[in-house]
Structure formats: structure tokens, C-alpha cells
């Protein structure tokens, strides 16, 4: 065992937790090395001094102030309970981050889905067919004409040409 290795065992020797073989090696090194003897003696002394530092007492105001704050917290908790057990449970669930995040994501998806559905981006709905449907409804569905894919295409094309020309394109 060299000096650096011996230093690693200072605490274990001080606390008497070394196994037999390491204890023999450590004490063998210390018997031969005066520098390590001195260092270990200083080590023991400084640990003892540190352990003898006095405990810091709480001030006389500590406990009354804390009790007052705890009573306030209790009132607040009781206030939340007063809202109703169902709401309390719901709030408790949403205090957990994973549930809170899941809830927010579900809400965004629901709002986004509703918006896209209304705008006609979902389920093959386009503005033209929506308009046609509403017109038909107003005319009390007199002649329900089947949708013509080609006509629809033509109308959409027209719209896109119009948009392009107003933007200064074709």
C-alpha cells in the first residue's frame, strides 16, 4: 500500500469498517510511513472537531410562526375540499404532470379536430359541396342532384384561376 492508497482508507479506518486484510495493509503502511501517521492524526483530529460543532437551536419564533403557517395551509386545503369531492379529485389528478399534459394534448386535438372538420379538411368535404348542400336545403330539397366529380373539378379550377389572377399570377 502506498501513501495515496492509504489516504483512501482514512475514513474507513476511523469508523472501524475495514476488512481484516485491508486493515493489516493500512496499519502496516502507517507503521512505516511517518508522513501518513501525521496526516492520519490530523485527519482524526479535524473529524472530531467537526463532529463536536454545537447544534444550532431554533429561535423562539420558529415554532409559533410555523404553526401559524401550517394552520393557514390547512384552511386553504379545507377551502379546496369545500368545492366538492368530485372537483377535488379532478384537481388532484391534474396536479400530476403526466395527466395535466395528456389533458392539454387531448383538448388541443379536440379543438383542432373540430376546426378542421368545420373547415372541410376532413372526410372529403370541400367548401363547394358545403355550399351546394346548404342551397339545396334552402330549396327544400326539390331536386337532389347527384354530385358530378368533373363539374366539381371545373368549379374548383375556376376558383383557383380567379385566386391566382387576383394575386397577380396567371
Amino acid at each position: 500500500m502506498n501513501c495515496l492508497q492509504a489516504e483512501e482508507y482514512f475514513s474507513a479506518h476511523f469508523e472501524d469498517t475495514l476488512d481484516y486484510q485491508t486493515l493489516q495493509d493500512f496499519e502496516g503502511h502507517l507503521a512505516e510511513c511517518e508522513a501518513c501517521q501525521q496526516e492520519y492524526s490530523r485527519f482524526q483530529e479535524s473529524v472530531k472537531m467537526t463532529q463536536q460543532l454545537p447544534q444550532i437551536e431554533p429561535s423562539p419564533y420558529f415554532t409559533p410562526t410555523l404553526m401559524q403557517r401550517l394552520a393557514e395551509e390547512q384552511r386553504e386545503i379545507n377551502g379546496v375540499k369545500g368545492i366538492g369531492t368530485g372537483w377535488k379529485r379532478l384537481l388532484d389528478v391534474f396536479r400530476r404532470p403526466i395527466w395535466a399534459v395528456s389533458g392539454i394534448v387531448a383538448l388541443i386535438l379536440a379543438i383542432g379536430g373540430t376546426y378542421l372538420h368545420q373547415e372541410g379538411f376532413l372526410f372529403d368535404q370541400d367548401p363547394v359541396s358545403t355550399v351546394e348542400t346548404s342551397v339545396r336545403t334552402q330549396e327544400n330539397r326539390v331536386t337532389p342532384t347527384p354530385r358530378q366529380p368533373m363539374q366539381r373539378h371545373y368549379v374548383l379550377k375556376q376558383v383557383s384561376y380567379t385566386n391566382a389572377s387576383t394575386r397577380g399570377g396567371l
Binding site: T50, E73, Q74
Partner: protein
């Protein structure tokens, strides 16, 4: 079998509010001592200890007696609060250094450090000279502890001032047992070098 802390927590969970008061009384002194020694500031230590108890109070319904250890849970919460406090102070100090040109007037830290030692009851010795020597030594030890890097200071305070076992310290700091032992040994070696003039 439940230890007394767990039993008190269980009683509190069942509605016995006096059980929590008893828990506070049992742990307030060691907790304040730990925080004060770790952050080197007695006044803030009381505030942080109060905050620790309030957090425990709020989370008490989630505590499972017998599965966790109350003491390590309490120190874990206190440790996190202390780290936040030190981080905030560092930011504040940085801001102050950036904005205050006259650094000579900034001696509040030193006075707080001395107060921490002076306010301990053990200083009331009979002989003034001996008392002064002891006070100087305690100041030196506290200063040496405060100068240790945080990763060494924390396990040292928990071990040598709070008397926690290595297993408990590993639980509080979320470290492996070997790492905890090696950090405590390293901290003690550093302290020994810093206290050389007094030994």
C-alpha cells in the same frame, strides 16, 4: 414494524393533527442545523426549514409509511430547497458584482457567518479567553465547511454534523454507496488541509 416518524405520519394521515406538530418538534432542530451548516446562514435556515415542513405537510397524503424513510425524505426536500437558494444567491451575487462597483462595502456575508457561530448556546463558557479560542476554532471550522465544493459539503454535513448513516445519505443524495463513502472521505481530507493551522 413502523418507526416513530412513520407512526406519526400515519396518525396524521388519519386526521390526528397533533401528530404532525410532534413531528415538527422532533425534527426542527436537526433540520435547522443541517440547513444553517450547509448554506452558512442561520436566518435563511429558519425560513427554509419552515418551507420544508410546509412541503411535507402538503404532500403528507402521498407519503407511504414503511416504504420510505421520513428522515431521508425530509432531508431530500431540504437539500433541494437549499440548492435552489444557493443558486438564487449566486445569481443575485453575480448581478450585484456586475452592478456594484464598490465591492469593499459588501461585508454582509462575513457578518452572517460569524453570527451563525456566535448565536450557538455552547459559546456561553465561564472563561472568556477559552470561550474566545473556542469561538475562533468554530468559526474556522464553519468557514472551512462553507468553502468546500457543494458535492462534498453536503455529504460531510449529513454525516459528521447530522449523524446520518451512509445508506441514509445515499438515499438523500440519490448516490451509490461507494460514491457517498468516497465523497465523505475526500471532504474530510479537504477539511483537514484547511484546518491545518488549528491542529
Amino acid at each position: 414494524m413502523l418507526d416513530l416518524d412513520d407512526e406519526l405520519m400515519e396518525r396524521y394521515q388519519k386526521g390526528d393533527e397533533s401528530a404532525f406538530t410532534l413531528l415538527v418538534r422532533r425534527h426542527q432542530q436537526p433540520l435547522i442545523n443541517f440547513i444553517a451548516r450547509f448554506i452558512n446562514d442561520r436566518n435563511s435556515a429558519e425560513d427554509l426549514a419552515q418551507e420544508t415542513f410546509i412541503r411535507i405537510f402538503k404532500a403528507a397524503h402521498r407519503y407511504k409509511p414503511g416504504r420510505a424513510h421520513f428522515k431521508t425524505w425530509m432531508y431530500h426536500i431540504a437539500k433541494n430547497l437549499c440548492k435552489n437558494e444557493l443558486r438564487n444567491r449566486e445569481r443575485r451575487d453575480k448581478y450585484r458584482v456586475d452592478n456594484v462597483i464598490d465591492s469593499g462595502s459588501d461585508s454582509k456575508g462575513d457578518s452572517e457567518e460569524i453570527d451563525l457561530i456566535a448565536n450557538t448556546p455552547a459559546n456561553q463558557a465561564f472563561q472568556p479567553e477559552v470561550a474566545l479560542e473556542r469561538k475562533e476554532l468554530r468559526n474556522a471550522i464553519q468557514k472551512a465547511i462553507a468553502e468546500l465544493p457543494e458535492q462534498y459539503r453536503l455529504p460531510l454535513v449529513l454525516r459528521d454534523l447530522q449523524g446520518l448513516s451512509y445508506e441514509e445519505i445515499s438515499e438523500v443524495l440519490e448516490l451509490r454507496s461507494g460514491t457517498t463513502k468516497s465523497r465523505i472521505n475526500r471532504a474530510r481530507l479537504m477539511l483537514k488541509d484547511k484546518l491545518k493551522p488549528f491542529i
